[in-house]
Symmetry: C2
Subunit: 201 residues, 2 copies
């Protein structure tokens, strides 16, 4: 809109730059992503981009925080939408969401960032706390969806295991479409969990 207040336009530009950054990182990796390329992709002048993010590091820091935030928001909404009975949502449904969470574009972007951070140490200080917060949040969301009793050590270990498995499955999805593999994993691990614990009682 022509009459859109200047502040809204500025916020919208910032949002677009951050989104382009995340998409570019997911596609090309951290090293292939620069403020100049992001500005071009977002249809923003280089000067405007530099006004928002004076350095590549500033852009990356905010993009990484935004990425962690978006990942948990999407999972939180999906978990909340599950059809939960009094004993929690069906294990299969929770596993499906969890496994898909670790094979979507946002996860791929995160792997690119981890890989790239090996060469860009200055970003580690942003990535590590963002990742720790993300992992804690996914753990909590999964436990809540399953109505898991976290006072039980065995249950806590099971949930940690599910997260390790989800991350491991997700890595394969970097290269190939793992939709069918994910469905097989959902079925296999639901059965296996059934024989370990009665999470879906």
């Amino acid at each position: 809109m022509a009459n859109e207040p200047k502040q809204d336009r500025s916020r919208e530009t910032r949002r677009r730059l951050l989104e382009c950054t995340m998409r570019m990182v997911a596609e090309r990796g951290l090293q292939g992503t620069t403020v100049g390329l992001v500005a071009e992709e977002a249809g923003v002048s280089r000067g405007a981009a530099q006004h928002h993010f004076p350095t590549r590091e500033a852009l990356m820091k905010e993009a990484i925080d935004k990425l962690a935030h978006e990942r948990t928001t999407a999972l939180s909404e999906a978990m909340a939408a599950l059809d939960a009975g009094p004993g929690g949502a069906p294990v299969e449904d929770v596993l499906r969401l969890l496994f898909r969470e670790f094979s979507n574009d946002l996860f791929h972007a995160a792997v690119h960032i981890w890989a790239g951070a090996a060469a860009e140490e200055s970003l580690r200080d942003v990535i590590l706390p963002a990742e720790a917060t993300y992992n804690r949040r996914v753990y909590e969301l999964t436990a809540a969806a399953l109505h898991a009793d976290l006072s039980d050590q065995h249950t806590r270990r099971l949930i940690t295991m599910l997260l390790d498995i989800a991350r491991g499955l997700g890595l394969s999805s970097m290269l190939v479409d793992t939709a069918a593999q994910t469905e097989r994993a959902v079925a296999a691990y639901s059965r296996m969990l059934g024989s370990i614990a009665r999470l879906d009682d």
Copy 2:
């Protein structure tokens, strides 16, 4: 040696170029690794490097194959060296080897390659079969070390699960030292496996 036959020198140059390639990929990622930089790092003239590997793609293809081969050779030797009783090696020892396998430099190089392959489609045709062979071999080595009965579907699933877990744990090791975390995981998963199946009978 000055009298070293020409063929041996050539083989040694090739080996050195491939090793530098793997180390560079592990440190900087796929995109940061070029024939020129590798030649410089290996102390080989650019012409000699290009004689061995006319294109970056040729270099990468052989490095990826060599990487997959080295990963299984090291694991195979380590598994064979385990102190196995008549019922197979202790579960803890096998898990420790498996978890460490997915957090060593070679694994980090592999993750860099997967991440980079998103931007370099021509490498996928090399990566996918190399990775499939590698995964099958790790599965076989783990099953053999545990003296696992692969005719049992539950056992097959357990071993697949261990590999998924190992890959998931390994991803964290891209950014932080996970030695202590790995030891905790070895203890926790050994106990957990004990309550699922009697792999260490």
